[in-house]
């Protein structure tokens, strides 16, 4: 019918292509998805599969050559005491960093979503994004100076006659150390600083979609502010928290630079992977170890889903 009506009128090529794509949605979708599918499918999934395959290969310890034969020795080695320690330390750090980021990000995100308007909000966005514009290494070494024994933080605490607080913290087992820059506490502080923007922005986006009337309705129905927070605000922020936690958790799990610069010399997963594939040349074991964060994140997402984190989406 349409073709009949248009017969005679010369149709430009551009119009014909546009019409064809409009009628054949499948073709349009295919055209849109081919480039990302090539990228994600071949480059990304392909390298993941190569990683998986490598983790089942062995290493000839005399020649240092990778032996392309199926073996589970790498995974058996993962279960050894030292490696388990590395995994447990990294996961514990990732959890602590994630929780601290949630606690710090919620008030900021809530303020941005509900109260800040116009210029204030723009200024806050910039303040949160600004650190991401400069090099991660520059910021890391800046923190090294701040946290050093003779650094700004201990100087400030001394001026405030609060050195004893710092000393008590550094004397605490597990988190303490020689100085902030040589303690797990320092590593934790720097991780929280680095990943905080990745937590604030998704929570802010989630809270922005919560109309103020919901909070008023909760209060109207008799809930006190704490009740309103836990029953209305927090559940509606959870999708944002889950999204932010994926960032903070996986970024901490995979990082191998921060713990090398700041902290005591205990190892994190990323550092061991880096050493094994670089210095030691044991790529199969490095591959097996780098599957750990993937499995942990998968478990984390599964748990979050079980807890209903994505129900409000």
């Amino acid at each position: 019918m349409t073709a009949m009506a248009l017969e005679g009128a010369p149709r430009s090529l551009r119009l014909r292509v546009s019409d064809t794509l409009y009628r054949r949605r499948a073709l349009l979708v295919l055209l849109l998805l081919v480039p990302p599918l090539l990228w994600v499918g071949v480059v990304y999934v392909g390298s993941l599969l190569a990683l998986l395959a490598n983790s089942f290969f062995g290493l000839d310890h005399f020649s240092g050559q990778v032996v392309r034969e199926f073996t589970l020795t790498n995974f058996a080695e993962l279960g050894s005491g030292a490696n388990l320690d590395v995994v447990a330390r990294t996961v514990a750090m990732a959890l602590a960093v994630t929780l601290a980021c949630v606690a710090l990000a919620l008030p900021v995100a809530y303020y941005m979503a509900r109260y800040a308007s116009g210029a204030t909000r723009a200024a806050l966005y910039i303040a949160i994004m600004l650190p991401l514009w400069s090099s991660y290494l520059v910021r890391l070494y800046a923190w090294k100076l701040l946290l050093a024994k003779e650094g700004a933080i201990s100087w400030l605490l001394a001026k405030l006659h609060l050195s004893w607080v710092l000393e008590a913290l550094l004397a605490t087992p597990v988190i303490g150390g020689h100085s902030l820059s040589f303690s797990p506490l320092g590593t934790f502080i720097v991780f929280v600083y680095l990943w905080l923007p990745f937590m604030i922005l998704p929570i802010q986006a989630a809270l922005e979609r919560v109309p103020a009337s919901l909070i008023e309705a909760s209060s109207d129905l008799g809930a006190r502010p704490a009740g309103t927070f836990w029953r209305v605000v927090f559940p509606l922020a959870v999708p944002g928290i889950a999204a932010g936690a994926i960032f903070t958790f996986s970024l901490t799990l995979g990082d191998y630079i921060v713990p090398g610069v700041i902290g005591d010399s205990s190892m994190f997963i990323g550092q061991v992977v880096s050493l094994q594939q670089g210095t030691a040349g044991n790529i199969p074991f490095a591959a097996a170890l780098s599957l750990v964060p993937i499995v942990v994140i998968a478990l984390f997402l599964w748990g979050a889903k079980r807890l209903g984190a994505f129900d409000a989406l």
């Binding site: 309705a217 209060s219 109207d220 809930a223 559940p235």
Partner: protein, 336 residues
């Protein structure tokens, strides 16, 4: 006597804007009271001060005789039906309705029974397990009503609750709300900019303009005997007679109101005045003529019983009863 709600010389400023400018209002227990006014007239701010979401700059808010001016919303015996319904998207309908009981620590079994009864009351049984997003606008509105009523408030505040519904549904909800209010005996304070809603549902109406309460009265008083020029023009269609016309037709009053539907067409003999039909507008149940009478234009509403309306340019003779003229007092100058 204790009023359900009383506002005593209440002011509310937002910066330089006087949202509410000295409102004095007393609402009797069991009354269906409507605050009517254009947007920005301060009616919603009044409601929010009673609900506890806005604090007056000056004056007192009394609920059942208790001074609750500064009390937080959760400490007031009133509940609100919000304009956007404000249903919690992460809870199903049952948990939404039972929310008020949940925060008060009522055990699950008891609150689920009550929630089911409330859903029955708003004629929405069996949707308890659904999410608000799965309901239609009209159904959400009923859920919001059930949720606000479950705490058995002494006063129910309704902030333009029917604004988002289409006309048929709105008329149906108006009737249901009115019936529900009679049955429960709860004081309803209803805010709307829709005069039809205000006139058809309310026991009394308060008309607001620029933060002031211009008139409080029964719907009939508001419509037939508006106190000010603003009320006359805002509620219903109005012919305002001023100057010469007022002197001639309203015994020398400064300003008088003549409703379009009170004017009839008739014979030249005994007519109050004659004029030329300038144009006509068809409204279904009536036709509104604009009749040029000397320097002024009068709106004349003709019902279907009046027969075919005269064409534009026709000469017509206008009749009305003396009682159709309502003089607006000297103090009636206020308003736009």
């Amino acid at each position: 006597m204790t009023h359900a709600v009383a506002l005593e010389r209440v002011y509310c400023d937002y910066g330089a804007v006087k949202a509410v400018d000295g409102v004095e209002l007393a609402i009797a227990a069991g009354e269906f009271f409507t605050l009517l006014g254009p947007s920005g007239s301060g009616k919603t701010t009044c409601l929010r001060m009673i609900g506890g979401f806005a604090l007056p700059t000056a004056g007192r808010v009394l609920i059942e005789g208790r001074d609750l001016t500064d009390a937080p919303p959760y400490a007031r015996p009133v509940n609100t039906v919000f304009q956007d319904y404000a249903l919690f998207p992460h809870m199903n309908v049952r948990d939404n309705v039972a929310y008020g009981l949940m925060v008060r620590g009522v055990p699950r079994e008891g609150r689920e029974r009550r929630a089911a009864a409330m859903l029955e009351l708003v004629r929405l049984p069996g949707v308890g397990g659904r999410r608000p997003s799965e309901l239609s606008g009209g159904q959400r509105q009923r859920v919001a009503l059930a949720r606000a009523l479950i705490n058995e408030p002494r006063v129910l505040l309704l902030d333009e609750p029917l604004g988002a519904l289409d006309l048929k549904l709105r008329e149906q909800m108006q009737a249901e709300l009115k019936a529900l209010q009679r049955r429960l005996g709860i004081t309803f304070l209803f805010v709307t900019h829709d005069q039809h809603e205000a006139l058809s549902m309310s026991d009394r109406v308060g008309v607001m303009n620029r933060g002031r309460l211009e008139q409080v009265g029964t719907p009939r008083e508001i419509y037939d005997s508006p106190a000010t020029r603003f009320v006359a023009e805002f509620v219903g269609a109005a012919n305002l007679l001023e100057g010469d016309a007022a002197r001639r037709f309203a015994d020398g009053a400064e300003c008088a109101l003549l409703r379009p539907e009170r004017i009839r067409l008739g014979a030249e003999n005994g007519a109050r005045v004659g004029g030329i039909v300038a144009d006509s507008q068809y409204f279904g149940s009536f036709v509104r003529l604009r009749v040029q009478v000397e320097a002024m234009t009068l709106a004349v509403d003709l019902g279907a019983a009046a027969g075919a309306p005269p064409p534009s340019g026709a000469r017509v003779n206008l009749h009305w009863d003396a009682s159709a003229i309502h003089c607006l007092g000297v103090g009636a100058a206020g308003g736009a």
